[in-house]
Point group: C2
Amino acid sequence: MPGDKLTEDLIGDRFGVSRTIVRTALARLNVEGLVDLQPNKGAAIAQPSLSEAHDVFEARMCLERQVLTRLADKVTDSDIERLERHIALENKATPNDGPASIRLAGEFHILLADLAGNSVLSRYVDEVVSRCSLILALYGRPHSSDCSLNEHQQIVDALRARDGTRAVASMGHHLEAVTERALLSSTTDKHRDIRTILDYYAK
Amino acid sequence: MPGDKLTEDLIGDRFGVSRTIVRTALARLNVEGLVDLQPNKGAAIAQPSLSEAHDVFEARMCLERQVLTRLADKVTDSDIERLERHIALENKATPNDGPASIRLAGEFHILLADLAGNSVLSRYVDEVVSRCSLILALYGRPHSSDCSLNEHQQIVDALRARDGTRAVASMGHHLEAVTERALLSSTTDKHRDIRTILDYYAK
DNA sequence: GTCCCCATCATTGTATACGAAATGTAGGAA
DNA sequence: TTCCTACATTTCGTATACAATGATGGGGAC
């Protein structure tokens, strides 16, 4: 799907709105890094290079560690409760393993950022999480979920203990694992799109 | 200036373009946090609350520390040279103390981020630096420069020594100082805009 | 004198229209 | 056959037009 052209007229017809609306949406998705936009050539679903993908994961690591540093200081019991309920949802969704599972895994991270109560961090985390989903679609194994439930649980456990150091470390390990699942597998997987291969060897 | 209404027609006439162009520009500035955008009521130069301002500075600290962590590992001699030349420019601009000085101070941070070579970090740093300039205009003392030259020099010195720990620490101290100059002074300064005062007591 | 309602105006939100750039295609020459 | 050029078609970039929403001010009632 990444690389697909996004023609303004088609999308407009699809949603029953004019090109004006589509255009503003595409512009927004462009600054968020989800669509590539070339002048006079139109929009396409973003195809981040491996190098860009690493950049996104590095930024994500930096931002989410900060989120947990904050959270460990200010998290409330009802916050913990809410996180636990979310993990329960994730557990429930795992069996059928559809796109709902991937969405929920991302929302866990976004929920953490929201609870941290910093609007800037929150927006940036939202952005990098979305981009990571895209990267997973490009480079990850098909059908691989990007987050292990166990790892989410460890983060919440550390938060419940108000152990900031452990919480940050848990998130660190989790994101290392996510990065590995999303990126490192791509060098061996034969099923990947030809564009990905070319991109990889082009460094 | 923050809080001023931005009428699409006026701006369009001012620059000789149609509302279409102005609108896309305003939308972009809105996602970057520089203009507030209320549905059916138009755009205005952003007026971040003190709490939002602290959020921005916290995110900035987190991002720029990461920039220096990266840079300490990969900085080249020609990078150092370029940073030194930039500081020389800043020194030259200080006497007349105009807006050029403020712009150069911001560009030093953006240059650091660019040299770090992570496109995501680079974009985010660009954004928070812009927002900090806005915050300085809102809450800072009039005519106060937001960056001390000496502090910039210390950062480059640490980079030249390839001392990552010291570089991150220097940036940390620098941004602490910047935050203080931009925010803490606002509680005592009688010359501040009435809106700022109200905003502050409204927490 | 003050408050409220309605009319008018200003400004935004969305659609459409038109010119420009780029891409694809057919035809002819080497 | 292959390459190049000219034309046609598609799609984008910008301006303009119209509808909808919110702001402003004046007149009347209490």
